[in-house]
Symmetry: C2
Amino acid sequence: MKVEIIAIGDELTSGRILNTTSSFAARQLFEAGYEIYAMHTIGDTPALIGEALKKAISQVDAVIVTGGLGSTDDDLTNEAVSMALNRPTLPNLEILSTVRAHLDEITSTPVGKLEKLAWLPEGAEALSPKSRMAGYQLIHDEKPIFFLPGIPSQMKQLLNEHVLPRLATWHKDHYLTTYQRVFKIFNLPEAEVNRRISTLDLSRAALIGYYPVFPEVHLSLIIRDKQNRSAEKLFKSSCKAINTVLGDAIYGYDRDCMESIAGSLLQRAGWHLAVAESCSGGLISQKLTNIPGSSAYFLGGVVSYANDLKIKFLDVPEDLLRDKGAVSREVAEAMAAGIRGRTGADIGLAVTGVAGPTGGTPEKPVGTVYIGIATSEGNWATRFQFSGDRQQIREMTAQTGLDLIRKYLLQMAGR
Amino acid sequence: MKVEIIAIGDELTSGRILNTTSSFAARQLFEAGYEIYAMHTIGDTPALIGEALKKAISQVDAVIVTGGLGSTDDDLTNEAVSMALNRPTLPNLEILSTVRAHLDEITSTPVGKLEKLAWLPEGAEALSPKSRMAGYQLIHDEKPIFFLPGIPSQMKQLLNEHVLPRLATWHKDHYLTTYQRVFKIFNLPEAEVNRRISTLDLSRAALIGYYPVFPEVHLSLIIRDKQNRSAEKLFKSSCKAINTVLGDAIYGYDRDCMESIAGSLLQRAGWHLAVAESCSGGLISQKLTNIPGSSAYFLGGVVSYANDLKIKFLDVPEDLLRDKGAVSREVAEAMAAGIRGRTGADIGLAVTGVAGPTGGTPEKPVGTVYIGIATSEGNWATRFQFSGDRQQIREMTAQTGLDLIRKYLLQMAGR
């Protein structure tokens, strides 16, 4: 079953807002077994919206349209649909009463504007009329078309709770058995991943894709077959072969991220981590605490941006800072030991480096980063030379720090 | 001059990778005065790529295509272009010699694969043949078509350094005078922004757009005119009117972000900031240090995720934590005072709250956040109730904390 996704909004075609909703929709639909034929982004121009919609209806089995459903003056999707598909807009009484009940609460907003939310093209079936989220389904030329708000949180909720269940009732036999796995790879260049995979004798039915997603490489394996059993067998043998040639450069799969993997290894070991960050400025802590439940293994840390804080909070000796410089192996080690000692963590991670754009020297150019680790077995630090802009150097620093934690814990578990 | 942008890659249509390059290209082109007619995303399927390319050439003045130019087996753009436009692929000798020189360095990669980068459709002019970035221009039906790699950093560099200068030499008279300003608004709902703007008697030539960009609202003003003088006059009067009705809910303009505004106010005041973060877990520090030069006003801080760290690093009294709880007005105040006192900062910012998804109670449900500020004038804290998921609550917490710093410094400067 083929699907097209159309995103509407001048804020998207002017590049001011990054379109995240189309990508979210594509992912959910793809994983549910649908084929995404194309994704389009067009401005708030009724003629173009109508043209794109009609073309999509003519060439695919279902269409998802996002954006332009709101109550402000630049929301023109309903008008465009009405014109393109010859469906006059009519008030939806259920939505009208929801809007009016809300208006009683906030009387400062003029009634005329918000009531716009209730005027839908003829035949529209509201997806969630009792909520204050716009969104409806139209059946046109016997094909389902879904209109969703452009606000990411609302769009995602309606897609998962209403669109996917409704779509599943259309053409129940639409899809082949699909097996997919994404191998998340860090610290191995794409060309080298490609070279290793090309040494394997994978079946032609195994679709392989390579995607550099800074700072990682993602390798996608997809197997589609009408016959479930043969697809499963092929999937398992392909995964095994890929794991063999890529080894521990694969840090995880599918929706894993480096911080979730490091976190679950810490939790399994019953260890607590504390972090001292200089050039990464809180990025490592922020990533770790983004994972719900991270308080089970993450104590916290210090962002020792100023040298003074390295002395006050991390017990880095003042003469060490003076003699070796803040960006040095010795200071990275001392920071790791300091945060571990002060917090009572089992493992301390510390980073210090030159994120740029200024601050580089011939001996320590922009991108020079020292990462230190402290455990009961001792303290050590490694020098890295990263390239790219400030954001990229910070990202590589955080990712590499978390990867060192991962590798240390894997080694420990293996003993 | 109308432009279409076509992004190619199965990783995009499966939603696994967010398409950031199209948005970047749209923004650069829009700001340079071009009109983005449409943006399309399609998979690595030569027939679809060819069809989209031919359609774009027929309806706009220039086309930008990104992705599928690499050396791995799933890169099919050149093949598709060759077929669709009847241009056989030929080796580009300059690129071939760049690739071969590189191969001498890393002999482990098989020659055949990387040499693929040098085989381009007939008539292709490489944009940067001496670099290792793929990318070329084709003139077809007297229209320029640019092919760029999908890797964001390379695509951005080639777009800015090669595509925009080349495009500017086509149809020099293509664009009207364009004035644009984006008003960045925090802490005022979109409907209220709309209501206030609708009280203004703005010219019909002033195009207004409303965009909720969590956690902000962006208001876009665009004025396009053939006559420079009248456009400028209209632009200035419209900006003034908008500033009057929205007041200090406008925190900045265009590419400003909350952390850059807070940073420049701190710098102007000659003040140093230190931050104590609990529920935001490093997000505030990370945002602040993302700005180059932030060490001029940001000392660093403590991520006091565990209660123990609030005592050890921030001098929060143990009995206060026990009696009032970690999420309380008193602890937020003590944290702010603690980080200020320990670091010697002029202003201390502290946050403590329940980011969820678990940990809420009837008195302090998920989303309850206390934000504390400490200066030489005293310490105080405010309770906020945020809604949304964990990421949204953290984002609102960080943004609100920075906004409080901004408002404090604005008030101080106004005295």
